[in-house]
Structure formats: C-alpha cells, structure tokens
Symmetry: C2
Subunit: 219 residues, 2 copies
C-alpha cells in the first residue's frame, strides 16, 4: 500500500500553530519566483529544527517531497491552504466593540485566512446601528436570533473579563461551537465546545520572568 498522505492524520496542536508561519514564509518564496522549497531550507529560515519542519510538512502535504529538490511550492501552498482552511470561509461574530474589538473587526487580514467576521454586538446603545469598517454593530438582544438564523459557529469575545462568562454562556446557548476568547479569564464551557484563549498577561509573565532569570544569572 502506498504511504498515506493528507488523510486525517493526527496533527498536534503545536504543529498546527506553526503551519501559518510556514505558509507565509513559503508564500513569500513563491512571490520571489521560487518553484521548489525544502523542509531544511524552511527550517533554517525560521530558526527551527529541520526534523520538526520535515515532520510538520509531511503531515499536510498531499505528495511526497522529492529528494534533492524538496516540495513543489505551488502544490505545497495549496495543501497548506486546504489544511488551514484558508480556501473556505468561516463566518464569525464578535461581541464587545471596544478598542480591541474594533481593531479585530476592522482587520482585513483575517479574511485571507478564511475568517469573515460578519457583525459586532455590544450592549452600549450609542453604538447600535453604527458601522465599524463595513461591519454593523447590533444590540446584544439580537445575538440569539442572528446566530440561529445564520448558523454562524464561531464567536469572538472581546468584552471585559467580568462579562466574558455571561457572553460565553449566551453564545453556547445559541449554538456557537468555537470561541476565540480575548478576555483575561478562563471560560467554563460544556464538553465539546472549543475555546482558544488569547492571553497577554500570560505571555508577558513568561517573557518577564525569563528576563528576570536571565539578568539574575548573568550578574
């Protein structure tokens, strides 16, 4: 039997998070006129372990790389797009049109990554009916009917931490399956609901603690 490729192999989350970087790097090479790319070359450019990149790529590529040449860029980019879902469009709603919410709502790059944020919700009546970029802002009361009518599956939470759980509950209630949480709090969700937390304090903690340790060691 031929080796299986691209057939629902289990790809670890850590791999998944590296794929967008590979994609954008290889995309750049394509634009520079390159035709082939090797895992080793990607690894070197991105400062990663070659074996790691090789393994990651072999998990998503539909064809084997050719020894001595590497992967055909066009094919590989296509496979990456497929795998990352850049080719199809997921719709999403966003709740909490503060400064962060506004930033996300107006960011055009998400659409090239297969995410189309269709509408924002906020409890502030002053915002209702306004447009941010080209997205309308609706009152919270409309969320339920909106989700149920459109069948949207992804919700983005950009409200303050103390309101996040309530928003989350409401989303789940209405049928949202995946939540991208920018509030600094862990959400309680029923089994089967996906949550991805975006967590600046955590990142900062890691960085500043490592720095402190480093300064301590060096002295």
């Amino acid at each position: 039997m031929a080796t299986q490729h691209n057939t629902s192999l289990v790809v670890p989350k850590s791999t998944l998070s590296r794929l967008p970087l590979y994609y954008s790097h290889i995309r750049k090479m394509q634009q520079q006129g390159e035709k082939y790319v090797s895992a080793a070359a990607v690894a070197q450019s991105l400062n990663l372990n070659p074996v790691l990149v090789r393994k990651d790529l072999s998990g998503v590529s539909s064809v084997e790389g050719k020894p001595r040449a590497g992967f055909e860029i066009d094919t590989l980019l296509n496979d990456l797009s497929d795998f990352l879902g850049y080719n199809k469009v997921d719709e999403a709603i966003l709740v909490g049109v503060g400064s962060l919410g506004r930033l996300i709502l107006t960011n055009k790059e998400f659409s090239s990554m297969g995410l189309n944020i269709t509408v924002g919700f906020d409890k502030d009546p002053d915002l209702h009916g306004l447009q941010v970029g080209d997205k309308f802002i609706l009152p919270m009361e409309k969320m339920e009917s909106y989700i149920k009518r459109t069948g949207v599956k992804i919700g983005i939470i950009t409200v303050p931490a103390d309101q996040a759980q309530a928003v989350c509950d409401q989303m789940v209630e209405c049928g949202i399956l995946a939540i991208w949480n920018f509030a600094f709090t862990l959400l309680n969700v029923p089994q089967g609901i996906l949550v991805k937390n975006e967590n600046l304090p955590s990142s900062l903690a890691v960085l500043s603690h490592q720095l402190a340790k480093k300064l301590n060691n060096d002295k």
Copy 2:
C-alpha cells in the same frame, strides 16, 4: 533537610503561563473576603486538573499549604506577585504606533503587571512629539540613544511583518534583551535574546482547524 520552597526551582513555561490566571482568580477570592484557598478549589473553578494546579502552586509558594485548609491567600498572592514580577516594574519601549500599538500603549492594565511602557517610536513624522495616552511618540532615530540612556531591556514590536526584523535588529544592537513580538513573523535573534511571539493567525489556525474536524466528525 527541609523541603526547599521557592528556591529557583525550574518552573516550566506552561506553568508560568497559568500563574497569571491563578493570580487573578485568587485575587478575586481575596476581595470577596476569603482567607484560604485550596489548589483543588482553584482547579475546579478554572477547569483544570487538580494535580496540575497543586504542582504549579507548590512551585511558587514560599510556605507549604496546610492540609484541609489550603494556602493562606495573602501569602500566596504575595508569592505569586513576586514570582511574576508584579511587585517590581520593568520598563519597555514600543515600536510601531499603529492601531495595535496605540492599543497597547494606552492599556493601563500592564502597569499592574509590572510593565511600564515609557515611550513609543514610529517612523511617521506626523506622529512625532504627539502623545498617546500619556506616552510620547518619538522618531525612530531617537531609539538608539533612548535605549542606551535609560537601559531599558524590553522592546515591543507592533510594526507590520515586513519591517519587524529590521526593528528587531536595531533593538538588539542597542541592548534590548527581551522582545515581545506582535508582528506575524518569526524573528532572527542572536543566542540569548528572548523573544515571545504573539500570533493571531496561529491561534486562529488551531481553532478553525479543530472546528472543521469537529464538524466533520459529527456529521
């Protein structure tokens, strides 16, 4: 020999990234008048494995938790603050005063986490001399002298991806030791320089791929 506590044990990065969540949760309990908290209780509230929380906490607490009661909240919060560096203030500079940069520059919460962003740099002359919040915006040319004069060690990069590496090189050149990178690109840095990447496309990839898989399995 007595068991060592809080003595430069190796705390994994994953633990480090959970500590701020523990901190904010336990802080809330303190404000509600609680005196003691158990690892098990934290675990339940945050939906984490009890053993994991117990291990994390025992790594940072200066005292042993008491059976049946748990940890004294005041002491534990203090230890967490110490460990996370919330008690001392790190200064930082930010480069790239676009919408994201502005958001970070004006966010007041960082100061309670021990990060004081003192100034922003941008290449746009229209911004020079302006204030965002209470932070001045200076031209890029001033960066070198600023870093060298103040000895600031942390740099935040919020420029577009194609300019990030150049900014990074410049920072490192001037003596920055830790970089918080919000640009969607991996940075090449010399050995010993710390980099923490904040990477929305990666997060999105993880979330949307998991969702796709889920929808696929359910049907």
